[in-house]
């Protein structure tokens, strides 16, 4: 699980062009959207593509995505629960 979380951080930093951030800058429970890391709606859609491309997991409904993408913890839990 910890490995997965680190991997997710690296992937997210690269995918969302979070320039000058390192995995160490993102806490596992940090809120990713709005306050916190400040991601927006397009980032959320990119994360959906990420899950599909790298983890073969499909999210059909963006509303569902909101809960899953709350933090690194919740994304990792979602991936684990599906595997």
């Amino acid at each position: 699980m910890e490995n997965l979380k680190e991997k997710l951080k690296v992937e997210i930093i690269e995918l969302l062009n979070l320039e000058e951030m390192t995995p160490a800058d993102i806490a596992n429970d940090e809120i990713l959207f709005g306050e916190g890391l400040g991601l927006d709606s397009i980032d959320a859609l990119e994360l959906i593509v990420l899950l599909e491309k790298n983890y073969k997991l499909k999210i059909e409904n963006p509303e569902e995505g909101k809960k899953i993408f709350r933090s690194i913890n919740t994304i990792a839990e979602f991936i684990e629960s599906k595997q």
Binding site: D40, S41, I48, V49
Partner: protein
Amino acid sequence: MNIYPVADNIISPMGFDTDQNFNTAMAGGTGIKAIEDNTISPNAFYGAKINNAPELSQFTFLENLFIKSISDGLGQVGGLDMSRTILVVSSTKGNIDLMDAKKAKLFGNRIELHAMAQAISDHFGFRHSPVVVSNACISGVSAMLTAQNLIQMGQYDHAIVTGGDILSEFTVSGFQSLMAISDEPCTPYDANRKGITLGEAVGTILISNNKNTGQPTVEMMGGGQSNDANHISGPSRTGEGLKLAVEKSFKQAGVNASDIDYINAHGTATLYNDEMEAVAFDRLDLLKVPTNSLKGYFGHTLGAAGIIESIMTIKQLVAGQLLVSKGFDELGVTKPLNVVKKQQALVNARLALKTVSGFGGCNAAIIFKKL
């Protein structure tokens, strides 16, 4: 200076001229249907696609449609003084199907919008280099307002304003990735709306400062353009930008909200666009005015939308008949927008407002007055 639309054409799956399109829509028809075409999308989807074999092999599919549409428009007026006429082209993606290298070989650099416009212009032997506007989904109205400006500047007396985009894998895959495409025909303003339906269309409107150029039925009173300064793809929550564009159009036309008899809105059927419009119209005190979206007939036709929907706005205003806002059943925005649910007569109407909004945060509005 007064400016008049004097001729027009719409090419869509509903027909190859304005009347065919208007009559089909009045009879309850639509251009939207299920499309299974692996060259556009790996999965079946709803869209509006024109069935037309290109007649001129030296031109692309889209250029053929432009040429057909402009020819029809020009045929409705006597010989224009071409030294005083400008072609204004509106498109978001133009010949985007030429991304395919095999296709591109046949048509040189005409994936570039200016080259596409020049090829069309050269076909007709127009004297002046065309002006090309590419302002996302507001391009059509932008192009009409640009044409108005060019005439008011005294450089031209007439403008042929033409707009079009094709239904392509490029846009379908992109809007799908944004999860913006409805799995049913789009239902603007409805409680169960699920997103847009993409469409393919070309439209042409000729405008002139000379009333005798054709038999105009309306006057183009002016318009306005604005930006939300909020987000590049998400509509503003406050409707501020659209409100500003409409207010500018009122100012230019010398009218007030209470003068408006009919609104043809953008109504894409995404959750946020339709809600944004309702909020803006509430703030503008326009909620009581009968309002429809034509996306249920044409789909979202991008660079054509502002032009073909303006033409249909004029047709409805002049016919005194409003089209049903197709797909609408139960109000799904937070303000009581007066969405046209049943075909209704528009008695003693004078003024119609057409609005559009698009990616990049842009908005535009234009006003027509019945003569």
